[in-house]
């Protein structure tokens, strides 16, 4: 049986490659942080608590107990529109693969978390801005269907700029595909928890993210339908700094909880243990 560490070794270690180097400047407090310390602290600034964006593989390691069985790991996008802007779509995909070490914008699979068997999908903002095309849609749909079949709850950690423009309406329709698959989990009366991480917008926030039974957000995560710039252009005024943050969302009643990354696993386990009858072993058929 592969452990999470084995599974991870099979993939390239994903770290934030946009700012390579030993030192990272914290956008929250401007402190210069030692990268190794930051990684040991779940990419949370030890000084001000700023939550850095987390690559999907690191997130999975932080949540899963022992083994992680990835599903549909080898799915790669096709190019339904033969898309070209300043580059071709396949060129962009190759560049993102190289830069992020990820093969797509989501990793999905099964494992146990605090002794509870779960289906887990984690989106990766470092690959195409976490955008949802046919592969992301397929993996999320498979996660919901397969969780229903195995009678285990599902957790999705979102980080996405929305539907992937380069796949056109095919990408937009993944909003319907993932929602349809989610009904299987709902009909099986199994919990689905969404963890909104920075940033989650557009076609992902307006589909499976906000259809969850319990919605958790990381501190200061920006979550909304329209992008900040689009809104500012439309209303021709500057938005307040806290607009569309997790704190804004909880004040307006759109999320259940804001949870610090260090408490996330324990909090998810506690919620699931109360939603599920029996202790931790899923629901009997």
């Amino acid at each position: 049986m592969p452990s999470v560490a084995d599974w991870l070794r099979g993939r390239k270690r994903q770290i934030e490659r946009r700012e390579p180097g030993l030192w990272v400047k914290c956008p929250g407090c401007s402190e210069t942080l030692y990268r190794k310390d930051l990684e040991l602290n779940l990419l949370v600034c030890g000084r001000c608590g700023h939550h850095f964006r987390m690559p999907a593989a690191d997130r999975i390691v932080s949540l899963i107990d022992g083994e992680f069985h990835e599903i549909a790991a080898d799915l790669e996008p096709r190019d339904p529109l033969q898309w070209t802007d300043v580059k071709t779509y396949p060129q962009k995909l190759a560049a993102d693969r190289e830069k992020s070490g990820a093969v797509e914008a989501v990793i999905a699979g099964f494992g146990s978390m605090g002794g509870i068997e779960i289906g887990l999908a984690v989106m990766d903002f470092f690959f195409r801005g976490g955008t949802m095309g046919a592969v992301v849609g397929e993996k999320i749909a498979l996660l919901f269907e397969e969780s229903a079949r195995r009678r285990v709850p599902a957790i999705v950690c979102t980080a996405s700029g929305g539907a992937r423009m380069e796949e056109g309406l095919v990408a937009l329709m993944q909003m319907a595909k993932t929602s349809a698959a989610l009904t299987r989990l709902q009909d099986a009366r199994l919990p689905y928890i969404c963890v909104l991480t920075d940033p989650t917008t557009g076609g992902v926030s307006a589909s499976f993210a906000f259809d969850a039974d319990v919605i958790v957000a990381e501190p200061k995560a920006v979550v909304g339908f329209a992008g900040r710039r689009v809104i500012e252009q439309t209303i021709r005024q500057r938005l307040p700094d806290d607009f569309q943050t997790a704190e804004f969302l909880i004040e307006h009643g759109h999320v259940d909880l804001i949870v610090d990354r260090h408490q996330l696993k324990a909090q998810l386990v506690q919620v699931l243990s109360m939603l599920l009858p029996g202790t931790g072993a899923g629901v009997p058929a």
């Binding site: 080898d74 529109l81 592969v135 309406l169 329709m173 339908f225």
Partner: protein, 327 residues
């Protein structure tokens, strides 16, 4: 500036001249203008074919946004009967959404429509067809009503997108759209969507998940506006025309991708040149689609809807490069 409106100017001039000549020949029956009138009419017809015979994607974008294009109200007015039902029961009635119960050539239906204005005053009231969360929640309430009373849901899509404003975000635009999409994937009555103008992104899709999707010939359905797409991917708003082509947002493109089921032809020159004919054609197609859907046992209808959306989008596998999926 609307490129179709610009191109129509030459036609309207000719129309005016033909009208003037006809009036003149009535006042002066002794003089014969017949030959001149015929020549102008031939010129008119050939110009019309030249302009509208083969519209590009970019021209269709502008046709879909034409200020004279028939709105949802034009189609709703042609129903046998219609009772509008207002409000989301929580915040307010969103004028960008028209919902209600009606009868389409004898068939009981529930109508959900995105409504743009026909003039500036109505556009201000209807927010240019951009729906707020309360509009989607009105839709959600009516979807449940439809299910309870076994009314097939007929939707009309015509929006540049969901409202991108402060209030919309404060009231949960994402959640409102997400709930509509989810509800339509599972609602236990037939759903028939018709794109009549602009189908803009998730805000359009909220009423666009359906057993069958019909598009008027010159309507569009897109993940983003060509202007927005150009600004994001090319970082150059000037590339909007190229983006329109590449996005594959026309009815024929989308039928090719397996997303759209039927295209309803428009009169030469577009739906606004003969609204009655357009309304009649669409209603006829809706009636026959509703009859086809009514033939399916409910469980099969729901299975087919599930399978249809489950299939959209294909991928290849890294190891064997095997091509799977439908499109």
């Amino acid at each position: 500036m609307n490129v179709i409106v610009e191109r129509e100017k030459g036609l309207l001039e000719l129309e005016q001249r033909i009208g003037d000549l006809k009036a003149l020949s009535e006042q002066h029956p002794e003089a014969s203008f017949a030959a001149e009138i015929r020549a102008l009419e031939e010129k008119y017809a050939s110009l019309q074919r030249e302009i509208f015979g083969n519209l590009t994607a970019w021209q269709k974008v502008h046709m879909a946004r034409h200020p004279m294009r028939p709105r949802a109200t034009a189609f709703i007015a042609a129903l046998d009967e219609f009772v509008e039902l207002h409000g989301d029961r929580a915040f307010r009635d969103d004028p960008a959404v028209i919902g209600g119960i009606g009868r389409l050539e004898g068939r009981r239906i529930l109508v959900l429509a995105q409504q743009k204005g026909r003039d500036t005053k109505e556009n201000v009231r209807r927010n240019f067809g951009m729906v707020h969360p309360e509009g989607y929640r009105k839709g959600l309430r009516l979807m449940r009503l439809a299910e309870k009373f076994s009314l097939p849901i007929v939707t009309y899509i015509d929006t540049s997108g969901a409202d991108p404003g402060i209030g919309a975000e404060e009231r949960g635009q994402s959640e409102a759209i997400a709930q509509c999409i989810l509800q339509l994937t599972r609602v236990r009555v037939p759903v028939l969507a018709a794109v009549i103008g602009e189908g803009g992104s998730g805000g359009a899709l909220a009423f666009g998940v359906a057993d069958r999707i019909i598009m008027l010939e010159h309507s569009i359905f897109s993940i983003a506006s060509p202007e927005g797409c150009a600004a994001i991917l090319w970082k150059d708003a000037g590339k909007a025309e190229e983006a329109a082509t590449r996005l594959k947002l026309t009815g024929s493109d989308l039928k090719g991708l397996g997303i759209v089921d039927h295209i309803v032809a428009e009169p030469l020159g577009g739906a606004h040149r003969d609204v009655d004919a357009t309304v009649t054609s669409l209603l006829r197609e809706q009636a026959s689609s509703l009859d086809a859907l009514a033939m399916l046992p409910l469980e099969r209808l729901l299975q087919e809807r599930y399978a249809k959306y489950r299939r959209i989008g294909s991928w290849q596998s890294q190891s064997d490069r095997m091509v799977r999926g439908a499109t």
